[in-house]
């Protein structure tokens, strides 16, 4: 009687104990510390950008009670990720879950270490979805929503599956629901931060609004809508490329631009500095222009 509940209980506590080694304390803001994930053996820590409020006087607390100085590698507010580096310590690096078998309804644990000891809450996967874009334009590889309680100081900590592997990084900063950033996104952002110190984004320097295309043009291009230019910043890549107010963007590098989302995807970081061919509708005629994609300041 009651054996299974007790087994469940001790297995949960066992997962917390083992995965808790990867949950480190991040001291980087005036309020209470938050949590990070020990990402590599060589001392890279993944955490939430919003909990690292300063660039100096950063400290990492480990499970054994060690407290180590950390340097900031970089932060990407668009995905709410930051990477820190601790020196002179070998860390137990987080084991990542494959993520293939994950389904809505699966049990998950959120771990935090705002104090000396690891803390945990339990929930289920509430929703899974495709890649999505944060309101500030960050690219996230999978939508992963849970109902875990984000206790104070849990931001930046690991979301762990029932194999005790890390599924993602919990962030409480987005809209009141518990969202996790998947490990593939963490890996990609950390690599960008290590290479450039930031996540680069392509930039044209225009204000835009979706606009329906005239019937003839729509049929010719098999495209219903484009993006009407409402403003052009001075000295921007757009101005230098000859774009003007009233042009409607139709395509970039041959890829149709129907909505804002299309352009955001096409202006990925690796486009920075490259010459891109643009199709615009100007005075009722389709014209070709060439623009050197800038980097978003």
């Amino acid at each position: 009687m009651g054996e299974m509940v007790q087994n469940l209980s001790s297995e949960l506590a066992g997962i917390v104990e083992s995965a808790g080694r990867w949950a480190v304390r991040v001291e980087g803001r005036r309020r209470m510390p938050a949590t990070g994930i020990a990402w590599t053996h060589s001392g890279v820590i993944a955490t939430a950008s919003h909990v690292v409020e300063r660039d100096e006087d950063l400290w990492i607390g480990l499970g054994a009670g060690e407290r180590l100085a950390a340097q900031i590698i970089g932060r990407d507010p668009t995905t709410d990720l930051a990477a820190l580096q601790v020196e002179g310590a070998e860390l137990a690096a987080a084991e990542q879950a494959g993520g293939d078998g994950l389904a809505v309804g699966h049990l998950v644990l959120a771990l935090g270490r705002p104090g000396k000891t690891v803390q945990a809450t339990l929930g289920i996967v509430s929703a899974l979805g495709e890649a999505w874009r944060t309101p500030s334009g960050g690219q996230v590889d999978q939508y992963l929503q849970t109902d875990v309680v984000m206790y104070p100081g849990f931001s930046g900590g690991p979301l762990v599956d029932m194999q005790g592997k890390v599924l993602g990084l919990n962030t409480s900063a987005m809209g009141g629901v518990s969202l996790a950033l998947p490990t593939s996104t963490i890996q990609r952002v950390i690599q960008a931060l290590q290479t450039h110190g930031r996540v680069r984004r392509g930039y044209l320097g225009v204000g835009l609004q979706p606009a329906r295309l005239p019937k003839g043009v729509a049929e010719q291009l098999d495209q219903e809508s484009g993006l009407l230019i409402l403003s052009v910043e001075s000295d921007s890549p757009a101005e230098q490329g000859g774009l003007t107010l009233g042009d409607t963007l139709l395509s970039l590098e041959g890829q149709p631009i129907r909505h804002m989302e299309d352009l955001m995807v096409l202006l990925a970081g690796d486009q920075v500095g490259k010459k891109a061919s643009l199709q615009v509708l100007r005075g009722g005629k389709v014209q070709k222009l060439s623009v050197t994609v800038g980097e978003r300041p």
Binding site: M1, G2, E3, M4, V5, Q6, L8, S9, S10, L12, A13, G14, I15, V16, E17, G20, M32, L109, L111, P114, G115, K116, T117, V118, Q119, A120, T121, L122, G123, V148, V149, Y151, P152, G153
Partner: protein
């Protein structure tokens, strides 16, 4: 898939069994002009444990699981710990099995019982978030709490928090946000009873009412 469903059915069955055992010793504590809280039978001769803030120094009534409504005496209370021991004239009451809160670990399964919003003998389950004195939401308390991800509501106060074996590990005491409950660890309860009633002496009924 059938296997998984069997496990869930078994889990549900065990949870229901656990709830049934705990509810046998779960009482309602009423005071005049105030809402009701919860309490737990600690000793079969009518020793009931609840929060001090549930009784507020008034003479409370206790409603037993069998429906009897009895006047209770306050034997002892400690407002700092938020604990109160009550006595009712009754014998052979089912008691709760007492556990050890020091064995809880973060992630341990716990179930809380009470009468949230007046709903009789309701259960809510969660896991231990952490334990100790350094809980971020209560910096003003230099004392030990169990924090659990549980939906405490008015009416849970004074009720039992049990572990996966259905053993008493804490007394539901306060909410700390909508999804976090704080409980007084049962180790504190043991200390309180020992100091104030001389342990679990069976002749507690002779103790004069504490005023």
């Amino acid at each position: 898939m059938a296997g998984a469903q069997e496990l869930l059915a078994q889990l549900n069955g065990e949870m229901a069994g656990l709830a049934g055992r705990v509810r046998a010793s779960l009482v309602r504590v009423e005071t005049a002009g105030r809402g009701a809280g919860a309490g737990t039978v600690w000793h079969p001769d009518g020793l009931i444990l609840t929060n001090a803030h549930v009784v507020q120094g008034n003479s409370p009534w206790v409603v037993l699981p069998d429906g009897r409504r009895l006047q209770a005496r306050i034997l002892a209370q400690d407002r700092e710990l938020d604990l109160a021991a009550l006595a009712v004239e009754a014998q052979d009451l089912p008691t709760i099995e007492v556990g050890d809160s020091r064995e809880l670990r973060p992630g341990s399964w716990v179930v809380a019982f009470g009468h949230p919003w007046g709903v009789e003998s309701a259960a809510t389950a969660g896991v231990v978030i952490g334990q100790g004195q350094m809980l971020p939401e209560r910096p003003e308390f230099g004392r030990s709490w169990i924090a659990a991800s549980l939906h405490y509501r008015p009416g849970h106060s004074g009720g039992p928090l049990v572990d996966a074996g259905g053993r008493l590990v804490g007394i539901n005491t306060v909410m700390a946000g909508p999804d976090v409950g704080l409980a007084v660890p049962v180790q504190e309860v043991k200390g309180f009873l020992k100091r104030r009633l001389g342990g679990m002496a069976p002749d507690f009924q002779k103790v004069r009412t504490w005023a």
